[in-house]
Subunit: 658 residues, 2 copies
């Protein structure tokens, strides 16, 4: 995963043993050194094989390597670069050939995914693979403004990105809630705009180099002119409204906006983009540009006058004026502009890269701007449909094609669609839970960006995703291990088993609904709660869904017993849960668990006795009404299936056949 | 933990709710800002309470804070600094007062440890505490040469150190296996001596500042003239033997040694120590000086001539000559010398700090050099007895008193014993398992360094240690969560429960014996094996020990059933284990588990039937002979207790009373 373009598996295997060696084309690269060394560590770590040689050899120094790597040149981190590779495993030898070292590192990830276990060996199956990406832009955006994410969180996620062949890290560095990058020219930006949580320029360089070693381009974003509270906390003199600013603690869309009529605004941005240009070798700098509603522009007489004078009719025109000034500043530093779709105004130069994000939530057709941009001559990238912070099932994202199937684009226009980007906004996401919000779902999106558009089988995707998910642990990804950390915390270090069972049928509330119900999360609210231990695609809800379908299809004893086992599990574990020493957090979870156990008991009785009474149906109905409601910021992932069973019993009433 | 000097607990509680606020003396410090912010996050994270104010207030800005903090001045990170504090919790208010901000951060950690849970609230008990450390030097050494430990590993461990009031981080930066610090003056040192695994100077500054914010002094160590293979890989021209050097991959004591007669040696070290002096504001620089056997000196004619010419009789004299030159270099940069006990030679100035490490393993009395140093007028620090990499039980380290009880030291001499340092050598330790090797045992050692020497109750220590251990998770310590990561890896993502049960009665081999049995670990060997999932003080072995003692004391049915439950657990889980899809790693573990299950079955039968046959005794004896042997790098922690039971049955033979 992502599934390669061409795969030929044959009988036979290459067995991994301590003599395993790697040779690399004479003119190796730092990227290859890092990748081959890491490859050997990962292979050894998985298999327990004490590999004699911990480093790859220069090809002139070894005669008969296990794995021979050849490539022609060092790849550049820019669009349309050649990332293709060939991988051939025979019984006795493995070959990797690629035009660039980027292809080689992709091939090494594929090879690691091929590693298989039998009772007596770890091996690679005999295979020939020819592979290359469908899209040149395969991105992941991480918002480090809403919640700061330390360097090590980014590094482990860059490793995970590389493992699934993503090649663009879009670094959302500023927003109302924080300015996260050290500025040497305007230090108040990070000093006053970050609560001390920012990346030093050395750290930025460190991350950029780390990404480059993994074949990943870093695109920094400074979000202007809206989403600018943190900037204005440092420099209120460039605000559109004369007021006191302080770092925003809540989530939402806020009014603080830079003043596009003030020359000081451009002075500061010029310096800042100059610093960025030095730190980020890539071509693109993302200037945000989204969600500026212009309220403070409307309230400001000076700005109104400026608009009139310069014949700027709407706020949109004013923002175009602003964006074009930025475009020139960036051009001066040899950079191109990238921005959210709002920057695509009439005068915007077609060298701009348009980032399409709006969809049904914003009352427009999904990815509408993508088509529009391609038609107007812009390169464009799709994020609508890949908002993984919304806590929607992986299947939903997986089936979004970056090039809509029913489109009326010419081939040339299609080619302007460079790919897509998953976006991780972090209003509800800290370094404790970020990995479980990103992974494994991002791996499925990565497949969408890399593999043939015909690869859409959900069952195959789920199966492979589980494997990829587990293997991400070796890169330090914490999505699996941190669940119990949270459960130990909320139980005050008691047995977590019963709660663990509950997390497997509960999912965090979706699409910004977690802020409902009286509680409004701030940046520093606790994200160590039950909902934070739960994830999308709750694992037992899948299994239960299968069992319910089996039963509804055929009420034989096997299918009945299958269901009863689920109900027993929830009944037993509720008892265990009830016996824990209670504390305020556990108390809030109790009603949910109690209702699940109650409905399980009734269903179990109905199944055992093969009949259902009116009273039971009424009780089930009442319990389901409760279970439908969100509670402790989660929803019950098995609710629909419990309800299907109710509908079935309600129809059958008594004496249904088992 | 560490237990305070004076504690007065009374009835009553301060309940934590969303109105919780903190005020700090007008002249706050960065240290206090970091500590109070982190305090609020941790409190909120533990309790799920949405605390309205995420930051502390300046005391002039708030009238009636929940927690009022006052202090007189910013503390210095140097020996004998005042770290005392007073903490008073009433029903409605909490006061912290300290002379320095160092005292305040200790008080905040104490307060967090006091947090308690009831069914309806989280609260602090009413208490008055007056506290100060017994020793001024409470250190932890981490070796980053044998296995490099990334910055985030150090940071989370600095947090953990602060949580148990340790105040010295001794950073073992160089050894045969790696030179881990960027040198601007002699860049080949890190370029050729580190495999690319080193700290940049920015990262060093970052760690030093992070430590300082937590009240921790950082003492860097450059180990010379021995342990120098990595240095000589970069600069063979300053070696005592003219040969080709390359980074050492094995563990042990090696011969490569700097040439103390070569002026270039001092040129390089002078530059290097100059760079260190700029990076580390603390007074001490550790120059190692240990385990130089002088073999290459003996082989080198030029060096022999030099000795004769300068009237240096022994190699020890030559090393003194070398150390005194270093002492002068350090003095030039305003630094004092610290070194392992070998530097305590006749001419060594008494400003040197002597680090006592040898003991019975080195055929001398434990900490002999400590007493000697104190008597000779040196300040000194004890590490013998605190070698936590040896995988010995926490009780062993806990009971080592830095000032031996039977000593003939004067008060003044005693005062020269500044404290102690736990040492984590990392031959077998990577960032995956380091936390489980450090914690929770280091917390008990921290108590030894801080608390009154009369605090030695093991039962109390174990109980409190378990709590501290679990709470370390909130600081990112991975000792608990990473166990299942390893188990998932070796099972290839199957159920880990049965193996988890096994880890609770197995302990990694102790005192360097892991390298026996045919396998010799290299730096890049796999440390992802079963032994790496096991820890010292295996938890079920404690419980089993209690049950065995109960039974041996009284063979009533309750005690018998208690034992049978253990045997059942191992029998059942062995069956589960046996049913896993086998792979080569699981296969190596199988004989161990099988023997445990077999002996459990026999013991269970004996207990059920209340009699033992000769045949059974013979079988048990044979199984115990097997179980006594190390296997897969672990030893069976319940072996002694299984054997006690055998001896008991062997005496009783038949018809023992149950």
């Amino acid at each position: 995963m992502p599934w390669p373009q061409e795969v030929n598996i044959r009988d036979g295997r290459f067995v991994i043993n301590s003599n395993f060696t790697i040779s690399v084309t004479k003119n190796s690269s730092k990227r290859i050194k890092v990748a081959t060394t890491k490859f050997l560590r990962r292979l050894s770590g998985r298999t327990g094989v004490f590999i004699d040689n911990g480093f790859a050899f220069n090809s002139s120094k070894i005669k008969n390597p296990s794995l021979a790597i050849t490539f022609n040149r060092i790849g550049k981190l820019e669009i349309y670069e050649d990332e293709s590779y060939e991988l051939k495993v025979s019984d006795t030898k493995i070959y990797i050939h690629a035009n660039t070292d980027l292809g080689v590192i992709h091939a090494l990830e594929t090879l690691l995914q091929l590693m298989t276990t039998s009772h007596d060996s770890y091996y690679f199956p005999k295979v020939t693979i020819n592979d290359k990406p469908r899209f040149t832009w395969r991105g992941l955006m991480i918002d480090v403004a809403r919640h700061f994410q330390p360097v090590d969180v980014l590094k482990r996620n860059l490793d995970a990105m590389a493992a699934v062949k993503l090649n663009v890290f879009h670094w959302h560095l500023t927003d109302d809630q924080g300015f996260r990058i050290e500025s040497k020219s305007y230090p108040k930006l990070h000093e006053l705009g970050s609560d001390g949580l920012y990346y030093t320029q050395s750290q930025i360089k460190e991350v950029v180099e780390y990404a480059s070693d993994r074949g990943i381009l870093v695109v920094p974003e400074i979000d202007v002119p809206g989403h600018a509270t943190a900037i204005l906390t440092a420099y209120p003199e460039i605000a559109s409204k004369d007021t006191i600013y302080s770092i925003e603690r809540f989530s939402g869309i806020f009014n603080p906006t830079l003043d596009p009529t003030n020359s000081k605004t451009y002075e500061i941005l010029d310096s800042l983009f100059g610093e960025l240009a030095n730190l980020f070798p890539g071509k693109y700098i993302h200037i945000g540009g989204d969600e500026n509603e212009g309220k403070h522009w409307d309230e400001n007489l000076k700005i109104q006058k400026f608009k009139k004078k310069n014949n700027l009719i709407t706020n949109h025109d004013l923002q175009t004026y602003f964006n074009l000034k930025l475009e020139k500043i960036l051009a001066k530093y040899g950079k191109s502009i990238m921005g959210w779709e709002e920057i695509m105004t009439n005068n915007m130069t077609t060298t701009a890269l348009i980032h399409s994000w709006k969809g049904v939530n914003e009352n427009v057709a999904a990815g509408e701007s993508l088509i529009k941009a391609a038609k107007k001559g812009y390169n464009t990238v799709l994020s609508n449909g890949y908002y993984i912070d919304l806590m929607q099932p992986v299947s939903k994202h997986y089936l979004v094609n970056p090039i809509p199937v029913n489109n009326n684009l010419t081939l040339k226009e299609k080619q302007r669609i460079l790919g897509g980007e998953a976006t991780m906004w972090t209003e509800l996401v800290t370094s404790l839970n970020i990995d479980s919000r990103l992974w494994p779902r991002t791996a499925a999106i990565a497949e969408r960006f890399w593999s043939d558009e015909k690869i859409t089988n959900l069952e195959s995707m789920y199966k492979r995703l589980e494997y990829v998910s587990f293997r991400l642990e070796e890169l330090g990804i914490t999505h699996l291990r941190n669940r119990n950390v949270i459960l130990r915390n909320i139980t005050n270090n008691q047995q977590t088993e019963s709660l663990d069972v509950l997390t497997k049928i509960c999912e965090p509330l979706k699409i910004y609904t977690r802020n409902a119900g009286g509680i409004e999360y701030k940046t520093y609210s606790p994200f160590t709660l039950f909902a934070d231990a739960c994830t999308v695609d709750a694992s037992d809800s899948f299994k239960f869904n299968k069992s319910i379908n089996h039963f509804l299809n055929d009420q034989n004893s096997k299918n009945t017993e299958e269901l009863i086992r689920f109900f027993d599990k929830w009944i037993t574990n509720y008892t265990k849960f009830k016996n824990l020493n209670r504390n305020p957090i556990l108390t809030t979870i109790l009603p949910l668990y109690k209702n699940i156990a109650s409905v399980s008991k009734i269903y179990k009785n109905v199944l055992l006795h093969k009949k259902v009474t009116k009273k039971q149906l009424k009780e089930i109905n009442n319990l389901l009404l409760e279970l439908k409601k969100p509670i402790v910021d989660v929803e019950l992932a098995i609710y629909e299936d419990l309800n299907k069973l109710f509908i079935f019993f309600n129809k059958k009433r008594t004496n249904f056949k088992i």
